[in-house]
């Protein structure tokens, strides 16, 4: 339970948003050439980090736009918010 600063609407309660999981998982450019291992990696394997995690959120009960959040999963503190397509402001 926390506040998320939507880049389009400003600060709103987390319940207005839906989490889309880990960010920056690139969709395979040549899906037909992927091996089973590569498919498993893309579809199922996750970093599931305890600490600073990059993730996607959707302001589902607001502007309905997707964006990225940098959050510390060990204390739910949000370190940065940035739009889709932008580079992460934190390494």
């Amino acid at each position: 339970m926390f506040i998320i600063n939507c880049p389009y609407c400003g600060e709103r309660d987390q319940t207005e948003f839906s989490c889309g999981g880990e960010a920056h998982i690139e969709r395979p450019k040549q899906p037909t050439e992927l091996s089973d291992d590569q498919w498993a990696e893309y579809l199922f394997m996750r970093k599931n980090i305890k600490g600073i995690q990059f993730e996607r959120w959707n302001h589902i009960h607001g502007c309905r736009k997707w964006f990225n959040v940098v959050r510390d999963t060990s204390n739910d503190k949000i370190h940065a918010v940035y739009k889709i397509g932008e580079r992460p402001p934190i390494k």
């Binding site: 839906s18 291992d37 498993a40 394997m45 599931n48 999963t73 060990s74 739910d76």
Partner: protein
């Protein structure tokens, strides 16, 4: 040798003011080397150590736990035990556990308070009815007791349920597994710890794993807050922190860790003598022997290791509880807590070897691991001792995410993921 617990030992110790009870387990310092190390001193980890020493005669083993035993999800769950899962593989796995539960107190000489009070799963829409009837048939084909109850039979079995057809999600029926029930979760951890300790297993508490040492593709030992411990076999049973350990070993897992909440009410006189679960409205409730209502809520939708969980999740659950049980409307909730559950994409666990020699994972139990504790320990011990899975956990390998042989149990997992 442990003294046997009995009515006589109880009387004897009562007369001496309960000051002479034997320690249930030692508190040893880690040795330099073990034949196998289990990471995680919850129910599953302790059960694994117990069966490794009992059935596979591996006694030079240790369980390392970063906190105290049973202080994680083992002591945080809602203690429900059942085996009414849909697929053959799951039915085999969970019913194996249920069969061990039935004799566990005697086997461990420790009262785990296993109570076969029945578990009822409610249906609130036509798809629920179809799915639950299908699951009942599948259960019976697998030799698992399951019956379908219509609305009147549900009301008869648990009279405090509101079966009015005028509520938002009316009760259209439900399934009942009579062999299912509950157990005292702390006692399970303590009983297995005592049993494992008796056979020589070192249970090392307050010992956090900081790293896994590999030599090429083989494990060599673990770095801990109490120093380096050498071993050839590592069994990881770290629940919500499985991915953290996997990261230390340099392997990837298909898990996401999320807070799952539960809460208990003030204690009241006996009012509900079974366990009732409702998947669709997300409310499940039973009553502890102390009289508290034990209520399970849902998971948060995002990854978090905070062991808290959000208020809106609790609100949603209590809203559903109140519609189904108007009689609880003036009860006060005493405590609320969260535990971190590691969820697999197919809502089934992983009990498996990995690509690293000597490294085994037992994880991904998600929201429903407690019920499987004895079976999980037994099968994981078999997997570690033989370096091959038992036929009952062969389907729950890590490779299923590559081969596509998923065991989709979202319907039977009860807590929506």
């Amino acid at each position: 040798m442990k003294n046997k617990y009995s009515i006589f030992s109880l009387i004897k110790n009562a007369l001496s003011g309960h000051e002479n009870w034997q320690r249930a387990w030692r508190d040893p310092e880690p040795k330099k080397e073990y034949d196998a190390i289990i990471i995680g001193g919850g129910g599953h980890g302790l059960a694994t150590a117990y069966y490794l020493s009992k059935k596979h005669k591996m006694t030079n083993i240790a369980v390392v736990e970063k906190g105290w035993i049973g202080g994680g999800n083992t002591g945080r769950n809602t203690t429900i035990i059942r085996s009414n899962y849909l697929w053959d593989a799951s039915a085999g796995l969970y019913d194996h556990a249920l069969k061990i539960w039935e004799g566990l107190s005697q086997e461990l000489n420790y009262n785990v308070m296993f109570s076969q009070r029945g578990v009822m799963n409610l249906a609130h829409n036509l798809q629920d009815v179809r799915d639950l009837k299908r699951r009942t048939h599948a259960n019976r084909l697998n030799g698992i007791d399951a019956v379908w109850l219509n609305t009147e039979e549900v009301k008869k079995f648990c009279p405090i349920i509101n079966t009015s057809q005028n509520i938002r999600y009316p009760v259209l029926g439900g399934t009942l597994q009579r062999r299912a029930g509950t157990a005292r979760h702390d006692a399970v951890a303590w009983g297995y710890a005592r049993g494992a300790d008796e056979m020589g297993v070192d249970i090392i508490q307050n010992c956090e794993v900081k790293g896994i040492k590999r030599n090429g593709n083989t494990v060599e030992g673990i770095e801990t807050t109490k120093g380096f411990i050498k071993t050839k076999k590592i069994g990881v049973v770290a629940a919500g922190h499985s991915s953290v350990i996997a990261n230390m070993a340099g392997i990837r897992l298909p898990l996401e860790s999320k807070p799952l909440q539960a809460l208990v009410s003030e204690p009241v006189k006996p009012i509900i003598d079974t366990v009732v679960m409702s998947n669709a409205v997300h409310a499940y409730v039973s009553q502890s022997d102390k009289g508290e209502l034990v209520i399970g809520a849902g998971t948060d939708s995002y990854v978090s290791y905070t062991q808290k969980g959000s208020h809106n999740i609790v609100e949603e659950t209590l809203r559903a509880i109140l519609e189904l049980y108007p009689i609880f409307s003036r009860m006060k909730m005493l405590r609320q807590w969260g535990g971190i559950v590691d969820i697999c994409p197919d809502a089934s666990p992983i009990i498996s070897k990995t690509q690293v020699k000597g490294l085994y994972f037992n994880c991904g139990w998600g929201t429903g691991g407690f019920k499987a504790t004895p079976g999980s320990g037994d099968l994981f011990a078999h997997t570690i001792a033989n370096d091959e899975p038992h036929k009952l956990n062969a389907a729950f390998n890590l490779n299923r995410f590559v081969s596509g042989d998923l065991v989709d149990e979202h319907g039977a997992a009860a807590v929506a993921h």
